[in-house]
């Protein structure tokens, strides 16, 4: 178990963004945030928190409420969520933290923090319609199992990705 030292920095009110919370809550899925009374049931049931105490749903919810915009969006751990849905499944206040986290990740992506694997997957979908290439080797392998040729409509998928502006998201530069 790693030590959690992330609370050692004092919070400076002058650096908070008072609009951050309302910006997050503008999204339909994140509207329950105000109901959170910080009981920590989400954190207690989070499998990622077990190994990375720095990833803490309760603390993230509080940070959003306080307006710690830069701190929240730049935390690499927000991308470590395994999407098990325990946080929302167990929340006594019916706060959809999983959805709040998605809103935060979407905002972080727009601000240049998108991890390259997700950006690369999007590029792959625009080429083949799925997150993997479809090469000769795969075609032969499928044929050997007497399975049909794998097709997908990547043109339509590409168009939708462009309409949603997802093609504009660039991966975070490696430091």
């Amino acid at each position: 178990m790693k030590q959690d030292n992330s609370q050692s920095e004092p919070i400076r009110i002058s650096k908070l963004d008072p609009k951050f919370k309302s910006e997050v809550m503008k999204h339909k899925d994140a509207q329950g945030l105000n109901a959170c009374f910080a009981c920590g049931t989400c954190t207690a049931g989070c499998p990622v928190h077990e190994i990375f105490p720095e990833y803490d749903p309760r603390k993230l919810a509080k940070m959003v409420k306080l307006g710690m915009r830069k701190e929240v969006l730049s935390i690499p751990y927000i991308w470590y969520c395994v999407t098990c849905h325990n946080c929302e499944q167990r929340c006594p206040q019916n706060v959809k933290f999983f959805n709040i986290l998605n809103v935060l990740k979407n905002m972080a992506a727009k601000e240049g923090y998108a991890p390259s694997p997700w950006v690369e997957q999007t590029q792959q979908i625009m080429q083949t319609g799925i997150v993997f290439p479809k090469d000769e080797e795969l075609a032969k392998k499928r044929e050997s199992f007497f399975l049909p040729v794998l097709k997908s409509d990547c043109k339509k998928a590409k168009k939708l990705i462009e309409l949603a502006g997802l093609d504009k998201i660039k991966a975070k530069k490696q430091s």
Binding site: H27, D29, P47, V48, E50, I51, F52, W79, Y80, C81, V82, T83, C84, H85, N86, E88, Q89, F98, N102, V103, K105, N106, A109, A114, P115, P117, W118, V119, Q121, T122, I125, G129, I130, V131, F132, K134, L138, K141, R142, F145, L147, P148, L150, K151, S152, D153, C154, K156, A157, K159, L160, I161, L163, A164, G165, L166, I169
Partner: protein, 296 residues
């Protein structure tokens, strides 16, 4: 005759072909007709990380294609199930559906909210039924002690699954395993996630979570683990080998996809029908225990 549009997803038809093979065989054997739809694309689940809107649109595109053919969707991957079922739920909202349809219109599609999404195990459970499965069993698997693993998106978010099973205390896979004659073993970390969804970002959560579950089930004298999602399969089977090398462990837990276990019980050919020879952890000792005379 039950007919479904087969939604293969990305990983199964490219990396875990034995899941597709055994699913097709089992469905054919039990009278479920699967229709291949050439226009299906990725369900959009990982794109939700970067743009929820893009993820929803990709899901809606798939739902619209199935609807145009008047078919419901049968999924193999738990994550596709969750993503598509959640999209069905979101698109019940008229405003959301209108917004998405304005975009779908540009590619000549429309979704009217009629498509249902069911995971293959749910189809087997609800459409075929435990009793009808039991009648068809040809091989005796009563010696197998099996650890079930459900996969998070098979039942969550709960709002998308009509109370089909309880995500905190699930029973359907246990019953499907019992139907084959094998014994489903209960264990403490039953609902623990495989970690697969953030594996491309960081391997550490999965390495930790996989070991935690394997440590738990190794103490239960089990013969194999049964999963119902190819990502869970890759984590527990392929990554089991990686973990053995990297962390100097000696895990030796055979992992089967549920249609493979059911296929064995139904009398399928272990290699040609079920692709058991493609599984990373050898299943030879398992087959020997079941007195199935086949070397993989």
């Amino acid at each position: 005759m039950n007919r479904y549009a087969l939604f293969l997803g990305c990983t199964t038809p490219t990396q875990v072909i034995q899941y597709e093979l055994s699913s097709r065989w089992v469905c054919k054997h039990l009278g479920i007709e699967l229709v291949d739809i050439d226009d299906f694309v990725c369900c959009g689940i990982n794109q939700i990380n970067l743009s929820q809107e893009a993820g929803l649109m990709l899901a809606a595109m798939n739902l619209a294609h199935a609807e145009a053919k008047e078919l419901d969707i049968l999924t193999l991957c738990a994550a596709c199930t969750g993503a598509l079922a959640e999209a069905v739920e979101s698109l019940k909202d008229q405003e959301t559906r209108d917004r998405v349809n304005r975009k779908l219109q540009t590619i000549g599609l429309k979704y009217n909210g009629r498509t249902k999404v069911k995971h293959i195990s749910r189809v087997l459970y609800e459409d075929v039924g435990i009793d009808r499965i039991k009648i068809k069993i040809k091989r005796d698997l009563s010696k197998f002690r099996v650890a079930p693993h459900y996969g998070c998106h098979y039942l969550k978010p709960e709002s998308a699954f009509e109370g089909f099973d309880d995500p905190d205390n699930p029973k359907t896979l246990h019953q499907l395993i019992s139907a084959t004659g094998a014994f489903p073993v209960q264990y403490e970390t039953l609902n623990l996630c495989c970690g697969g969804k953030s594996f491309p970002i960081s391997k550490e959560p999965a390495f930790y979570l996989v070991q935690k579950k394997l440590d738990n089930i190794m103490g239960k004298k089990i013969d194999c683990m049964v999963v119902q999602c190819q990502t869970c399969y890759l984590m527990y089977s392929d990554q089991q080998k990686v973990i053995n090398g990297r962390f100097k462990k000696q895990y030796n837990v055979p992992v089967l996809l549920y249609p493979q276990l059911l296929g064995i019980a139904l009398g399928g050919d272990p290699i040609n029908d079920l692709g058991l020879n493609s599984n990373t952890v050898s299943l030879n000792s398992l087959l020997a225990k079941g007195e199935i005379n086949k070397q993989l």
